[in-house]
Amino acid sequence: MIRSMLAVMIALLISSPAAAAEDNTTQFPAPQTESGRLTIYSTTDLAAMKPLIEDFQKSSPDVAIDYIEYLTNELNALAAEACRKEEPLGDLLLSSSVDQLLKLANDGCAEAHTSPETARVAEWANWRDEVFGFTYEPAVFVYNTRLVPPAEVPRTHVELADLLRERLDYYRGRVGTYDIRLSGIGYLLAFNDARQTTTVFGRLLESMARASAVARCCTGEILEEVAKGNLYIGYNMLGSYAYQAALRHPELRVVVPRDYTLVLSRGALIPKGAARADLGARFLDYLLSERGQSIARTNAFYFSETGSLPPDVDGPQNLKESGIAQPIRIGPALLAVQDRAQRQRFIEDWAQSLIELNSPAWTRE
C-alpha cells in the first residue's frame, strides 16, 4: 500500500509540471492517441479514484482525464455558479455530498443518462437518471488500539456517548469528527444522525461537546491525528477512507456501529451541456459496471452493498443482511437537507453545542 502511495506521489510529481494550472488537478494522459479529454470534478481523494481511472483507461485508451479535486462545499459552490452562468463545470461531477448533487439536479443542472449500466443501480441510489450513487460507504467509528483499551471500544452510538461521559477526562479533546460548517458530507451525516434518533444524537452531541470534541474539515486529517495518537477516536468517518487508513496504520481500527449505520453512496452527475458529456457518461457507465464495482471494492472503497465487510473490521458480518444499514436515499428528501434555513439553523445549533464550548488550544487554528 505504501508502495502504491509512492507510485501516486511519483505520478503526481511527473504529471504536475506538464499540466496543472491548479495544484489540485491531476492529469492522466491517454495511453494511446488521445481522441478526447474528460474533465472530472471530484471530492474523492485521488488515491481512491486512481485505480478506477487507470482501469478505465485500459478499456478506453484514447481518453485523457483531468481529475480535479475540491472539498464538497467548494465544488458545490463552483458547480452552482457554473450552472447559473450556463458554463458547465467539467464533464462529470463526483461528490460524496449527494444532497448537493441532488440540489443541482433539481435546479436543472444535470444531464440525464440511461444505459444498461444505469439500469443496474439500486432504486434508492438513482434520481431521475441524473444523480447516481456509485459506492456503498458506511459511516464508521475509528479508534487507536494503543490508546483505547479493548473494554472501552464503543460499538453503538449510545456506547460512544456513555464512554465520553464516563471517561470524560481521558477522552477530553481526543475525539474527532467532521466540522459540518466546512464539510458537506459531515453536515449530511450529522443531519441524518439527527433524523435517526433525536435523543441519541442529542446525547452524543452533548457528550462530544463536553469532551471538547475536535472538528476538522476532512476525514483525512482526523484519521491522521488518530493514527498519530493526538486523537483517540474518530466519529462518523467514511468507511472507505477509514479502512484505507487502517491498512496503512495497523494501530487504527474500524468499527461499524451495531445500532444503526448510515450508508452513504457517493454521487455522480453529468452537468447539463457538458462539452464531453459522452465521455462523462462513458466513465459513469464504467463506475457502475461490474468491472468498475469490483475494482472499487478491492482497491478504492472496500465496502459493497452485497458482499461481507472487509477483514479486520469490527461489525456485523454483512451490513445489508444485519438490517442496521440505513442508506441515505438519493431522492427529494435530500432537498430538506439542503434547505438553507434548515442548514443554517442546524449548523448553528451544532456549532453552539460543540464548538463554542471550550476546546483544547491545540485544536484551534
Binding site: P332, A336, D339, A341
Partner: protein
Amino acid sequence: MMRPEIIKHEPSLFARLARRISVVLGIGAALLVTAAWYYAETAANKAYDRLLVGAALQMAESLSVEDGTLTVRLPTSAFELLGLADRDRIFYRVIDTHGQTLTGYDDLQSPAPLDGTRDVSSVEEGVYKGEPVRIARATRVLADPAVSGEAYVIVAQTNEARSALTRELTLRATILVLVMSLLAFVGAMLAIRYALQPVERLGTAVRRRDPHDLTPVSVDVPRELDPFVGSINHFMGRLNERVDLLQRFIADAAHQIRTPLTALSAQIDLLGADKLDKAGRQHYERVRERTGELARLTNQLLSHAMVIHRADSVQLEPISLVDVARRAYRAAIPVTVDPDIVISFEAPDDRPFVLGDAVSLREAIVNVIDNALRHGADQRLEVRVRATEAEAFVEVEDDGPGIPPEGWEKATQRFATSKSHEGSSGLGFAIAQEVANAHGGTLSFRARDERGFTVVLTLPLLKGEPK
C-alpha cells in the same frame, strides 16, 4: 323509346353503409379518446395535487416563532411526500410576514396575489426555470405578539409523474376504445350483411322467374322492401293485363277468321277442278292447299291461345297419359292418311298417371304427331308411351330426315321453322313446349339414328296412387 345508356355505378349499399358507419365510429372514437385524455389529465392532476397541497400544508405547519423571529423547520416528510412523484423536481419558497423570502427559491412566484383569501386546495399552472409546473400555496396566519400577519409557503412541482400517469390512463382508455370500435364495426358489417340478405333474395327470386310467369312476386321480404315489391307486382300486373289482352285479341282474330275461312274452303270445294284446264287446275290446287294451311294456322293459333289460357286457369288433375296419348293419336291421324305409311301406337300395361290438363296435353301430342306426319314420316310413324321411376314419356318417332341438332332450339320458337315454304305454321312445337312447361316437363329431341328421329315429351310421374 328506351335507349341503352351508360349507367354510372352507384356504390353498393354495403359500401355506402360501411363508409358512413366507419366515419361515425372514427369520429366517436376520436371524441372518446379526447375525453379519456381530458379525464386522465384531470385525474392525474387531482391525485398529485393532493400531495402538493399536503406538502405545502406540512411546510406551513412547520413555521414557528422562536425568540421573536419566524423560523422554519422544513419537515423531511414533506419532501418525501412530494418524492412519491419520484421523477419530479420540487421548488419551494417560504415567505415571512413582511414578504421576505425566508428560505427556498427566491424567484418562485405564486400566480395569484399573496393574500389569505385563497382556497388552499386550489393548485395553479405555472412555469418555473423553463419547466411547466403545478404550484400550490399554503397560508399560515401568525398571531404572535412579535410576529403577526400572514406567512406563505409556495410549493411547485414539475409535471413528469402527472404526464406519465395521464399517458398511461389515456393509452389504456384508447386501447379499450379501439377494441370497442373494432367490435362495433365488425358487428355493424355483419348486421348490414344480414339486413341486406332479403334484397339479394328478392333479386334472385325475380331473376329465376319463368319469363312467362307474370303472377305477383311472393317472396317474404322485410317491411322496408314492401314498396319495391309492390311496384314490381304492380308492373307485372299491368304487363299481365297487356299480355292477356294481346292473347285474347289473337284468339278473337283467329276465331273471327275461322268462319269466313270455312266458307271459303266450302266454296273452293264447290268450285271443282274438273272444269278447269291444266293451268287452271294447278292454280286451283294451290289455292286449296293454301286455304288448308290457313285453316290449320288459325286452328293452331286458337289452340295456342287455349293452351296458354288453360295453363293459367285450369286445375291440374291426375290423368292417364296412355289415354290422353291414344286420344291424341286418333285425332291426329286423318282418315286420308297416306296408306304407305306404317303407323303404330305402343303403350305399357301399367298406364302411367301424370298430374295434368287432359285437353292441353292432347293438344300438345296432336301437334307433335301432326308435325311428324306432315314433315317427317316417310314410311313409318311410331307413337310410344313409356315410364321410368319418376317420369313419363310420350315419344313420337318417324323415319324422316328429322331436325339437325343446331335447329332444335329454333324449332320450339313460334313461327320459326326452316320449312315455311312447305307450309309449316311453326306453332306446333311451340304449343307442345308450352304445355310441357306448364306441366313441369320438357319437350326434347333425340338425334336421328338408324331407326329415325324422335321427339320426346317428358312429364313428371304422379307420386302416389291416383284417386
